[in-house]
């Protein structure tokens, strides 16, 4: 029987993150990858609509409060020294790093921002 424990990473309350859901894929322009790069600016209208500016595009989305929240789990595979109070080896665990109770969903097509106006036809 396999048992994997899912536990809170620390006592005293879990952090709350927000999930952002996009259709499609974001690729880095250069082969150096995404790490360390800016994605874009996230604004909210006074009515609470999320607006994301990414590159040359604007996306309008909506905030959804999740009826069933998500827990963000990080897998922790033990090293040799990981033992519990009784000196038994601990198996693989999932640590709950944060909870997600809200998500921002963008599902409409991005609108292009036109910056260059070509010569008049």
């Amino acid at each position: 029987m396999v048992q994997i424990v899912v536990s809170s990473a620390r006592a005293g309350g879990l952090a709350e993150w927000v999930l952002m859901e996009l259709q499609g894929e974001i690729e880095a322009r250069y082969s150096t990858g995404l790490a360390g790069n800016l994605l874009g600016d996230l604004h909210y209208t006074t009515e609470g609509t999320p607006v994301l500016i990414v590159g040359h595009h604007i996306l309008y989305g909506k905030i959804i409060h999740l009826e069933k929240p998500f827990a963000v789990l990080v897998k922790h595979t033990p090293g040799n020294q990981d033992c519990d109070e009784l000196g038994r080896e601990i198996g693989t665990r999932y640590l709950v790093t944060a909870l997600i109770k809200d998500k921002i969903l963008f599902k409409t097509r991005p609108k292009p921002i036109i910056t260059n106006v070509p010569k008049k036809v």
């Binding site: 894929e25 790490a35 996230l42 604004h43 609470g48 590159g55």
Partner: protein, 348 residues
């Protein structure tokens, strides 16, 4: 490389967004150092019943149990739940420290910019997300990937790349069917990243090898079509005759433009005087059948089959042909000896 308020405001201006309609706080999102995909397998999301979530918040643990041949289950102190795995083709991003509009409105915060910056190491060791408004970095993890989005984002950039390539072809007097990859990379490398040049050639041509060298055969139809899109997308409509002239002049010398290349991209109105052409991309139209037809009929009252076919082609499935769709969603009549289709009911 943190963005300043000035830069954010400049972006808002370019995007033609009215700052008065927005909340003052902005989140400048960035990718954390672990965002290049290697860490993707380390995270997963567990969807919880509210009661289970409460138990975790109270500090209790849950246990996943199962024999090798059994379905796994999730156990709390007193209940057992079935565990199911689900996939999504959407991209999911985690934003630690992000505020919802409700939270922003409640706080009377003077802090105007929320930067997100957070390292993978911090997460795994410390496991304490900072609760302050400052400084938590976005962690990006792909749940699943689908292609195609990149192209939509970068059309203007693709056109820029394409122009570099076609100008080079012209100055070197190469044939369109034999464009050498290496020379392109050599000559254009100083201007644009090599992967992008190659990507452009792949989009607009077909790769082949001849005597050990890689060449591309450029696709004239695709290039003419992209050029037309670039011309049409910045105006509502064009005089057809003028457009055709400019369009032909804008494509690489030797390529022939033809309106057939613009199916599903542009619409020609032959009844107006002068005849006009405007951008109409099938991708921008509603996906639902009835809504698609409503939107087409509100753009134009009567359509010939030839004109409407490119705009409903993608709705055809195994069960439905263009003819069947037209029968179901439209009514036909004869006009000047030609069969035309219009809406079944009045469009407001």
């Amino acid at each position: 490389m943190k963005r300043t308020r000035e830069e954010v405001d400049a972006t808002l201006q370019i995007a033609k967004l009215n700052a008065a309609e927005l909340l003052p706080a902005v989140h400048c999102l960035g990718f954390g150092p672990g965002a290049s995909g290697a860490a993707a397998g380390d995270f997963c999301l567990l969807e919880l019943e509210p009661t289970l979530c409460q138990q975790l918040e109270d500090g209790h643990s849950l246990v996943i149990r199962g024999d090798k041949d059994e379905q796994a289950v999730l156990c709390s102190k007193d209940k057992t739940y079935d565990l199911k795995i689900a996939d999504t083709s959407n991209m999911l991003l985690f934003i630690p420290g992000c505020k919802t509009p409700d939270q922003l409105k409640k706080e009377d915060s003077h802090c105007n910019i929320i930067h997100t910056e957070y390292t993978t190491e911090d997460l795994l060791d410390q496991i304490q997300a900072s609760e302050e408004e400052i400084m938590t970095q976005l962690q990006v993890l792909n749940a699943c990937e689908i292609g195609g989005y990149w192209r939509i984002l970068e059309f203007d950039y693709e056109m820029k790349l394409l122009n570099h390539v076609t100008q080079l072809v012209d100055s070197e007097s190469w044939s369109f069917s034999k464009v050498p990859l290496n020379t392109c990379l050599q000559e254009l490398g100083p201007l644009e990243p090599e992967e992008m040049i190659e990507h452009c050639l792949k989009c607009y041509g077909k790769k082949y090898v001849d005597e050990g060298e890689v060449y591309f055969e450029l696709d004239a139809d695709k290039i003419c079509r992209a050029t037309a899109q670039m011309l049409l997308q910045n105006a509502v409509k064009f005089n057809l005759a003028e457009f055709q002239e400019v369009w032909q002049q804008s494509v690489p010398e030797g390529m022939i433009t033809s309106l057939d290349q613009l199916k599903g991209l542009a619409l020609v109105d032959r009844h107006s005087r002068p005849e006009i052409i405007s951008l109409l991309k099938v991708d921008d139209l509603p996906e639902d059948n009835q809504e698609r037809f409503n939107s087409l009929f509100s753009l134009r009252e009567k359509w010939t089959e030839e004109d409407i076919a490119p705009y409903i082609q993608d709705l055809c499935g195994e069960k439905q042909t263009i003819g069947a769709l037209l029968t179901k969603y439209s009514r036909s009549s004869m006009q000047n000896g030609v069969k035309v289709y219009n809406s079944r009911r009045p469009i407001s």
